[in-house]
Subunit: 204 residues, 2 copies
DNA sequence: CATTGATTTGACCAACTGGTCAAACTCACG
DNA sequence: CGTGAGTTTGACCAGTTGGTCAAATCAATG
């Protein structure tokens, strides 16, 4: 393993290649379904060479997961209490949908973990994510109480946004097969915007 | 392997125990993440004994999957063209949600497969499910055209129902952690009913 | 261009995995 | 209770897997 000085040019390149390859492999086979050899080949390295840069398969996975979680929660963080409620929510939906289109592997990597019981993520969810969700649920509740959007269970509202947007990445194989020629992401933005508008636009 | 006569008492019991155990194991570790030994132990058998009843790990998986798919598509099949549109859709949502609550392992088994690209399911999806979806999308489109429910992309409408209802089974680990003491299935039915009512109730 | 640290690799290992097999055991039935 | 079919198991095998290691190769610095 490299000394803990500043990373060399080669170290940078190879570590990046490994993480990129690992994202590909882990997201489409899950942790146990992936082999170090697979990742090494996808990164253009030999297995011992890969293990020169990361101490173990799990270390690669953890680094990937940590980086993912950070960017994953960003859109929710930027739900702005000062903004116009409905537009804020719609913007959040749009951003999440974009992430499903642009980073489907990240979404599937996350989905794989949660579906299998979140063994390696339980702590982060129970602390970091939980705090964030409590805060934003309060915000939504406030908007509902002041009548600026329709009432609905705030946490379930968040779940529904995650579910609807990530579905296009996580169930991509199914969605694409059933949509035929049509690109799912053509109609999805409008569909979701309509859905949340009709649901949340306050009835006077 | 048992001769192909009528199954004995022991055969019935053990095959059932194996399938039950396999559902448990496969749904929480995926196909590659599960071992025959795990399944055997969960079924209270030795590995060779299990392989006396099923020729291979894959055979167990296939039998499980086939049985699952049949019951999985039932609720959609019974979407009734003669019924009241909005009530039919709401009934479908309710049934799907109930299945998520009562058969979460089945849901996760299915999710595991699709997330990983549906390698063993692609054919069924492209044929059976596709036909069913086309048919029901037509039905929904007809209801929209006649103004009995609001317009929305019919296939995306179906996707959204699947996504929202199965989320409670597939992401159970996350949902339960974030809901704390509250049972997610307490508020979910009302939340989803409200959502689809507001979205689909026609505005004259 | 020499030397030293960084990088790469072939050979290897122990643990695990899906699956086989012959021998032993159990059960239902006459 | 004996017998043959149905059931169970310990021992085993070959392939895979995560990971190690010493030796070989490469790159940058003086």
């Amino acid at each position: 393993m490299p000394a803990d000085r500043a990373p060399t040019r080669i170290q940078k390149k190879n570590r990046a290649a490994i993480l990129e390859a690992a994202l590909d492999v882990f997201s489409s086979h899950g942790f146990r379904g992936s082999t170090v050899d697979q990742i090494a080949k996808a990164a253009g390295l030999s297995k011992p060479n890969l293990l020169y840069y990361f101490p173990s398969k799990e270390a690669i996975f953890n680094e990937l997961m940590t980086a993912l979680l950070d960017t994953w929660l960003d859109p929710l963080r930027s739900l702005d209490p000062e903004g116009e409620p409905l537009e804020e929510i719609l913007a959040y939906v749009r951003r999440k949908l974009q992430m499903s289109r642009d980073f489907p592997r990240e979404s599937r990597l996350y989905a794989n973990e949660i579906v299998q019981g979140a063994p390696r993520l339980h702590d982060v969810i129970a602390t970091d994510l939980n705090v964030l969700v409590e805060e934003k649920a309060q915000l939504l509740q406030g908007w509902m109480d002041s009548g600026r959007i329709n009432r609905a269970h705030p946490k379930h509202l968040l779940f529904s946004i995650w579910s609807l947007t990530q579905h296009y990445a996580d169930f991509d194989a199914q969605v694409r097969t059933l949509m035929g020629e049509e690109d799912p992401f053509d109609a999805a933005p409008e569909y979701l915007e309509t859905l949340y508008r009709r649901m949340l636009t306050p009835k006077p």
